[in-house]
């Protein structure tokens, strides 16, 4: 006699139909991503003009809520908003009321009184951008939540591959490899979701302590401990920043051992596809996870990733603010 199992599953905080938020990429279809990239092309063109400003978002207010520090991402979003003539209000905690136990909801309600139309949210806890959608009518863009997701980073990485891959013909049949601390990486999680959605095969590589076995159950994902095997035939290889505190937590024996096994070098890249790209979401630990020379080589598109951040984020803001009107 087996009782029926019907554990309660609450409704997901997802959006249907017209996109209201960018919380994570599993809620976006491949078509919506391709449409966003076409908008990004237009925005990228704007950024080549002498006057790098258009009136597209005039009258809108974008709030950046950074509960966790990230100057680069915040500046990139603020630039993307101002380049479209939106007003920007910024809120950053650093020992402010949040750390004194104010609830997330109260913090948001207080800021929401300033009446922004869209919030860009960065938080150390996974799920916070989802929680905030319950308490505001404004659109929410996830700028990184805990280990969970960093969707605009994945979009700009993917846009960069589309832009820089010689003779780009889509993601079907492509092998894309991510090397490093997968376990703690929201960049890895968002990229593997987006790349597999677009048809690529994703290989995750790193020491087993930083490479959770559950990720192998994600469709289109392979787990691999040997760098050579992971890089072989790859069309792009992304190295992730290694947080140096991982050694203290017993996840790695030593930096030297990590460098010996997982540092991305020109020699290893020789095993990749002849036109393979080298990527890094930044900030780089040169010569730890990526060879310094390789980072500056012709294969490297690290600078294009940084440059594409602004037009991709412009397109996201435009799509959510104008697209929902």
């Amino acid at each position: 006699m087996t009782p029926a199992i019907t554990p309660t599953v609450p409704e997901r905080a997802s959006t249907q139909g017209k996109k209201q938020h960018l919380l994570d990429l599993q809620e976006w279809s491949a078509e919506e991503v391709w449409a966003l990239f076409e908008t990004t092309d237009v925005m990228a063109q704007v950024m080549t003009r002498t006057i790098k400003k258009v009136p597209a978002l005039q009258g809108f207010t974008v709030g950046t809520l950074f509960f966790e520090n990230s100057t680069r991402t915040r500046l990139s979003f603020e630039r993307a908003a101002r380049a479209q003539s939106a007003d920007v209000i910024s809120f950053a905690t650093g020992g402010s009321s949040m750390s004194k136990g104010e609830s997330l909801k109260d913090t948001l309600r207080t800021i929401d009184a300033l009446k922004a139309d869209l919030y860009v949210v960065r938080h150390q806890a996974a799920g916070v951008p989802y929680q905030l959608t319950r308490w505001t009518d404004a659109a929410i863009v996830n700028a990184g939540d805990g280990r969970r997701a960093h969707p605009t980073q994945a979009l700009l990485d993917t846009y960069t591959f589309r832009e820089c891959s010689p003779g780009f013909d889509g993601f079907e049949g492509k092998k894309l490899t991510i090397v490093g601390d997968i376990a703690h990486s929201r960049v890895a999680r968002s990229n593997l979701r987006l790349w597999t959605k677009l048809g690529a095969q994703v290989t995750l590589c790193g020491p087993s302590t930083l490479l959770p076995h559950e990720l192998e159950q994600f469709p289109g994902v392979t787990r691999c401990f040997r760098l050579e095997e992971a890089v072989e035939g790859a069309h792009a290889v992304m190295a992730l920043r290694l947080q140096l505190e991982r050694m203290q937590k017993g996840l790695l024996p030593s930096l030297a051992e990590y460098q010996a096994r997982y540092r991305l070098t020109p020699e290893v890249m020789a095993l990749a596809d002849a036109q393979a790209l080298v990527m890094h979401p930044g900030p780089m630990n040169r010569d730890v996870e990526i060879d310094g020379e390789l980072a500056d080589s012709e294969r490297s598109v690290v600078e294009r990733q940084v440059a594409n951040g602004v037009p991709v984020r412009m397109a996201v803001l435009y799509t959510l603010l104008v697209g929902r009107q």
């Binding site: 009782p3 309660t8 609830s103 997330l104 109260d106 806890a125 799920g127 805990g146 969970r148 997701a149």
Partner: protein
């Protein structure tokens, strides 16, 4: 002398189903069945089930010191609304219940309230620090019935060994929150596919199973009575079963939430589902449910753990662990496990009455004459929505909000006095 009659009562206790009858109470005890004669009060329960009030071996009532979350009045009020007549309160309050004076004070306060009977647990270690034992004998003398650092595992196996030995000598039960700290780390949910998908730090089943194994070995070594709180996983329970098969002096409880909810509930990122030990997978839920049927679980303990709304609106790393559930435990388990699940009503009742009593070495409650008139009247027919805003508990949030459940307690009697009556509003 004051006599009360509950007319048209469907009488059920652990001895069996006694059919429809009139149950007579005299002062604070049961007088007998169909006696007739003059009564001060006649209550027609219209065919509803009348059965001994439930016993909860595991509730966080938060007093002293955390009255913003719950206090004895709200917590014991919630208990009687859930059909409970006796509640063992956990000691992780502020200050910790680690000295006899606090036990005495809580007892006299709860007596004055006249709600459910309070049976306080006392801390195993001073200040729950895991270093020095509390004065078990004095605490027992003051009225503490259980020794536990619940909320925290006992890290030091030697301390647990001495606690079990000393408690055995005094006839006290030691209850453990078995999670191995090194494996639990900073996990906020079950470690597995879902935690990887959600990017939340995981707490693996191994943390529970390994610590249950250690705690049971210590119990065997010391001969002390060990009660394993809130077993949440298949592997954790299998360890308990293995020890039981060898005659270890070990009992185990499961909670209503581990019997009804899985880790996927966290996909909506609502800290109302954040609890320790964490909600596990569908497989674990199924295994625990089957274990109820197989009779290897001794008791259902609520682990009622109220928190404020603001605390449960923090992010998932910061929000505190705990689910407030004592008011919905019976309707939830009746609806999901009995009405729709293949569990016998008598088994569920025993897990809430005789089971906890046997764990503690107390007399198993029945409807026999001269026994305490601690009773609950259960309406097994009417569907009512879970509405946290109506809870007696201060915690006005629930994982089951909006669900329509049957089996709600409509009246609760403690010491022969009606201490709870549900407003008859059905929807």
């Amino acid at each position: 002398m004051r006599r009360t009659v509950l007319q048209n009562a469907h009488l059920i206790d652990h001895r069996g189903d006694h059919g429809k009858a009139d149950l007579y109470l005299r002062d604070d005890v049961i007088e007998g069945i169909d006696l007739g004669g003059e009564v001060a009060q006649t209550i027609d329960v219209a065919g509803a089930v009348v059965t001994p009030a439930f016993i909860d071996l595991h509730a966080h009532l938060r007093e002293p010191g955390q009255e913003v979350k719950e206090d004895l009045r709200s917590g014991l009020g919630a208990a009687v609304a859930g059909g409970y007549g006796t509640v063992v309160s956990m000691a992780n309050t502020t200050p910790v219940v680690d000295e006899p004076g606090l036990v005495t004070e809580m007892l006299s306060k709860s007596e004055a309230l006249g709600l459910a009977r309070l049976r306080p647990a006392a801390a195993l270690s001073r200040g729950l620090q895991g270093k020095q034992l509390t004065d078990f004998a004095a605490l027992r003398e003051a009225g503490a019935v259980m020794i536990t650092d619940d909320g925290e595992p006992v890290k030091d196996a030697h301390l647990l060994r001495r606690a079990c030995e000393y408690a055995a000598e005094l006839g006290l039960v030691v209850q453990t929150h078995s999670e191995e700290p090194g494996l639990r780390q900073d996990g906020v949910m079950n470690e597995g596919l879902v935690s990887q998908r959600l990017g939340l730090p995981g707490n693996p089943v191994a943390a529970e199973a390994a610590m249950i194994y250690r705690d049971c070995e210590v119990a065997m070594l010391s001969g002390g009575r060990l009660h394993v709180a809130h077993v949440s996983s298949k592997r954790g329970l299998q360890v308990v079963e293995w020890f039981k098969a060898q005659g270890a002096p070990v009992t185990a409880e499961v909670t209503p939430h581990h019997l009804t909810l899985s880790d996927e509930t966290l996909e909506g990122f609502d800290p109302v589902y954040k609890v320790a030990p964490p909600l596990r997978t569908h497989d674990d839920v199924a295994y625990l449910r089957n274990a109820l049927i197989r009779g290897v679980i001794d008791a259902i303990g609520t682990d009622h753990a109220p928190h404020t709304q603001a605390e449960k609106e923090r992010d998932l790393l910061e929000a505190p662990f705990g689910i407030a559930n004592i008011e919905v435990t019976f309707p939830l388990l009746y609806s999901e496990l009995v009405a729709n699940g293949g569990l016998e009503l008598s088994t569920l009742l025993d897990l809430l009455q005789g089971g906890p009593a046997r764990v503690m070495g107390w007399q198993v409650p029945t409807l026999e004459a001269t026994r305490a008139a601690d009773l609950v009247v259960l309406d097994l027919e009417t569907g009512r929505r879970v509405a946290p805003e109506t809870f007696k508990s201060k915690a006005k949030q629930s994982p089951w909000t909006g669900q329509v459940l049957k089996g709600w307690p409509v009246m609760t009697f403690v010491r022969g006095k009606m201490v709870f009556e549900r407003e008859v509003l059905s929807d």
